[in-house]
């Protein structure tokens, strides 16, 4: 039910100024082998990336992750692929990065097989999403949530499902974390 949100992009806080590979391993907790073999298509701010260890991620950047894709275009967009030259004019190039090291927020979009496979990792770590999107999920998946939620916390307080649904989330950012047997929801930026 959150797949659409993951495709649109969620925001994560972490240490930036690292390479993409470093960020995904150290800040998100991905396995190096998974990054190398499974994530075949990566975009940094809409530009296809060829070297995840050279491209540096900064505060406010958008990172999109995908498995290998069909079509010549799919092959062309692969990281470091034989056909990368066919899209050389839009490829990401790291040119003496001015991106500062420190805390930052990065938008991450997860597509296709990658979304399914990495969703548990992101739920466990937690991410920030628009309140409007959160409300949309709550209302369109009411029955599934009612059946699956064991407990709810909002800003550290135990609440019930009804409270989750009647709260006006729209103008807010929501930090969402889901655990195997409990869920935790916190308002962002001092809204509540």
């Amino acid at each position: 039910m959150f797949m659409g949100v993951l495709r649109k992009g969620v925001r994560v806080e972490g240490h930036v100024g690292l390479s993409i590979g470093g960020f995904l391993r150290e800040e998100i907790g991905m396995d190096a082998e998974y990054i190398e073999s499974r994530i075949q298509t990566i975009f940094l701010n809409g530009r296809p990336v060829d070297d995840v260890e050279a491209a540096v991620i900064g505060d406010g950047d958008a990172l999109a992750l995908s498995a290998s894709m069909p079509g010549l275009a799919g092959a062309t967009l692969r990281k470091g692929g034989h056909f990368a030259g066919l899209r050389s004019t839009i490829s990401y190039r790291e040119e003496g990065s001015a991106k500062r090291s420190g805390k930052g927020v990065v938008t991450i979009k997860l597509f296709n097989l990658i979304a399914k496979e990495l969703a548990p990792l992101f739920f466990e770590r937690g991410f920030i999403m628009d309140g409007e999107d959160f409300s949309g999920v709550l209302h369109s998946h009411h029955e599934t949530l009612s059946a699956g939620l064991r407990s709810v916390e909002i800003d550290g307080q135990a609440e019930d499902m009804e409270k989750l649904e009647i709260t006006d989330w729209d103008p807010k950012e929501v930090f969402l974390r889901v655990r195997m047997n409990e869920s935790s929801v916190g308002h962002r930026r001092g809204n509540v």
């Binding site: 495709r7 530009r47 275009a73 056909f83 030259g85």
Partner: protein, 578 residues
């Protein structure tokens, strides 16, 4: 496949069938057969709808056998849309059935004496051609329903809808799928108009009583086929991505790359793409009891198609592919998958190329005939085509004609054929293929991404302009070869990644045909096909001057990367300079 069926539609007393030995065309299949016959037998200067043009339908070299993924069928002629040679291919059942019946090709030639419409029935006992005026102006779905009543649901059909009968430049030829629905189309280049000009509405193929084609070396063939299937299944693209999401999985990716041509190629991103993405499409299909993983013909192991049901759970159309979803979706500003699925259904029924129709509607939306995003208007415009109204005749003539009729400068065509779903300003190497392909703008012309395995053309720096030219050339060569085997182009991803899978394909071909083909031989086959196609086009008046993208691609920058098409004309002229 040792014989060719020739149908002289201009014979006295009505069309006459003549079966000849395969002769000089022995060993050719698919595109090698269609382009070879058109090159040899069709005067390049002829009118595409006149008596001298021929429509050639050929299964691939491996079709009709147990070889996995061997169900593509090629259709060739002089194209009424581009004015050059054309090979359009499709999936579905006909390739397998036609090959089991022993035909290497069906050729329709001559000019009908009157306006009588005919059907052709082919089974193991021979060929029967009968009048079929009762089928006049039937859509493909109604036509196939009538064929089922007469011949049952085990036959395979090749047919045209109203657009083909009206000889529209955007018309397609339909092939029935495993459920005997007319959902697989040889879409490009107006091949349906050529079949319409021959007054053949439908070819019914019945392989009852025939056997699967047998390999020369059954043991080696069986082993190679197993290796081949294993390779396809273990590859992440052919074994996981395509079966799970279909080709429309590309929507989010191409959009993210800024190469998704939206609103008639005015921007590289579409805000409504999530609503029409492959992931969303699959969620809808599953929720409505459709299918998200399905093959278009027997023997397909990739299963990239599906079944799209309407809101009430009733069949509407097959899973609309990426190109269709883009053409009728983002290109027209439409973010409603149900409307796009309806447009796909209508295109299949009237017998229209979805890429050409979506591009055409995008052009006339820019002209103000309808608002971008107006799905209802788009549906009505396709109905105009099906009715053959004066407006429909213009729209059914494709984007180039519609652009001229409505005074639009931004018309995304090469050699009169609409561009598919990748903006050449973002992925410039694909623009090289759009510009130089013998087929007009065509995403499948340079598709077989196995040049690294085949080592075609030596090593070049892919980041240099020369590298883009060489890569495009090599892609076109390997694609021409793959098109001749009758294998689905999607196998390209497995053979690109896995040398052993490419070798399995070669081993399978050799075991089946009793040959000793090497990668070099396959390359030479591709080159020979392209040389003939290129020569035909030159004689038909399509020179290097037509190997260009429309001017606006060099002048209008595309968001979000704000980039124009930068490959120089003199570099484009080097593609066929090998």
């Amino acid at each position: 496949m040792d014989k060719i069926l020739r149908i002289d539609v201009g014979a006295e007393g009505g069309p006459k069938a003549r079966v000849t030995p395969v002769g000089e065309y022995a060993g050719l299949g698919g595109r090698a057969m269609t382009s070879g016959m058109v090159y040899n037998e069709v005067p390049p200067s002829c009118h595409p709808l006149g008596e001298d043009n021929k429509l050639v339908i050929a299964p691939g070299l491996l079709s009709g056998s147990a070889a996995a993924m061997s169900g593509r069928i090629s259709v060739g002629c002089k194209s009424p849309l581009t004015g050059g040679i054309k090979e359009a291919n499709a999936g579905g059942q006909p390739a397998q059935v036609l090959a089991r019946l022993g035909y290497a090709a069906i050729v329709m030639e001559g000019k009908p004496k009157d306006d009588t419409l005919y059907k052709v029935f082919i089974n193991k006992d021979g060929v029967k051609i009968t009048k079929a005026n009762e089928y006049k102006m039937l859509g493909n779905y109604d036509l196939i329903d009538k064929i089922k009543e007469e011949y049952g649901d085990k036959v395979a059909c090749i047919s045209i809808g109203q657009a083909g009968e009206m000889k529209m430049l955007a018309s397609s030829i339909a092939c029935t799928d495993m459920e005997m629905r007319p959902t697989r189309h040889a879409g490009r280049g107006g091949v349906g108009a050529v079949m319409g000009s021959k007054h053949i509405k439908v070819i019914v193929l019945d392989d009852t009583g025939t056997k699967m084609r047998q390999p020369k070396d059954p043991g080696k063939f069986k082993a190679a086929n197993k290796e081949w299937v294993d390779g396809l299944k273990k590859n992440p693209t052919t074994g996981q991505g395509l079966p799970a999401f279909g080709t429309n999985v590309l929507t989010n990716i191409i959009n993210e790359a800024g190469g998704y041509p939206a609103y008639n190629f005015t921007t590289g991103r579409f805000k409504g793409c999530e609503a029409i993405s492959g992931e969303t499409e699959v969620e809808i299909e599953k929720a409505r009891g459709g299918l998200a993983t399905h093959g278009c013909h027997r023997g397909c192991v990739i299963q990239c198609s599906g079944i799209y049901n309407d809101k009430d759970g009733n069949y509407l159309t097959k899973q609309p592919e990426y190109e269709t979803v883009w053409a009728h979706g983002g290109n027209c500003g439409i973010n409603d998958l149900d409307a796009i699925a309806m447009l796909d259904r209508l295109d299949d029924d009237y017998g229209l190329d979805t890429i050409e129709m979506g591009a055409t509607i995008g052009v006339v939306m820019e002209a103000g005939l309808a608002e971008f995003g107006d799905a209802k208007a788009a549906v009505e415009l396709v109905h105009e085509v099906g009715k053959g109204s004066p407006l429909g005749r213009i729209l059914g003539s494709g984007a180039a004609v519609a652009g001229k009729a409505f005074g639009v400068e931004r018309v995304p065509v090469v050699k009169g054929q609409a561009m598919p779903a990748y903006d050449p300003r973002a992925v410039q190497g694909i623009g090289v293929t759009y510009a130089t392909s013998t087929m007009g703008a065509d995403h499948t012309a340079g598709y077989a991404v196995a040049t690294n395995i085949m080592k075609v053309g030596g090593n070049v720096d892919p980041l240099s302009p020369e590298g883009q030219i060489v890569l495009s050339r090599n892609l076109q060569i390997t694609t021409a070869a793959i098109d001749s085997l009758g294998t689905c182009l999607f196998v390209a991803f497995a053979i690109m990644d896995q040398p052993e899978t490419f070798q399995a394909l070669l081993d399978m071909c050799n075991a089946f045909l009793g040959t000793n083909l090497t990668a070099d031989d396959v390359t030479e086959l591709g080159k020979s096909i392209l040389k003939k196609e290129r020569e035909f086009n030159m004689k038909a008046g399509l020179t290097s001057k037509q190997d260009r993208l429309p001017d606006y691609f060099k002048k209008e920058s595309l968001e979000p990367h704000n980039i124009t098409f930068q490959v120089k004309d003199e570099d484009l002229d080097q593609v066929f300079n090998w």
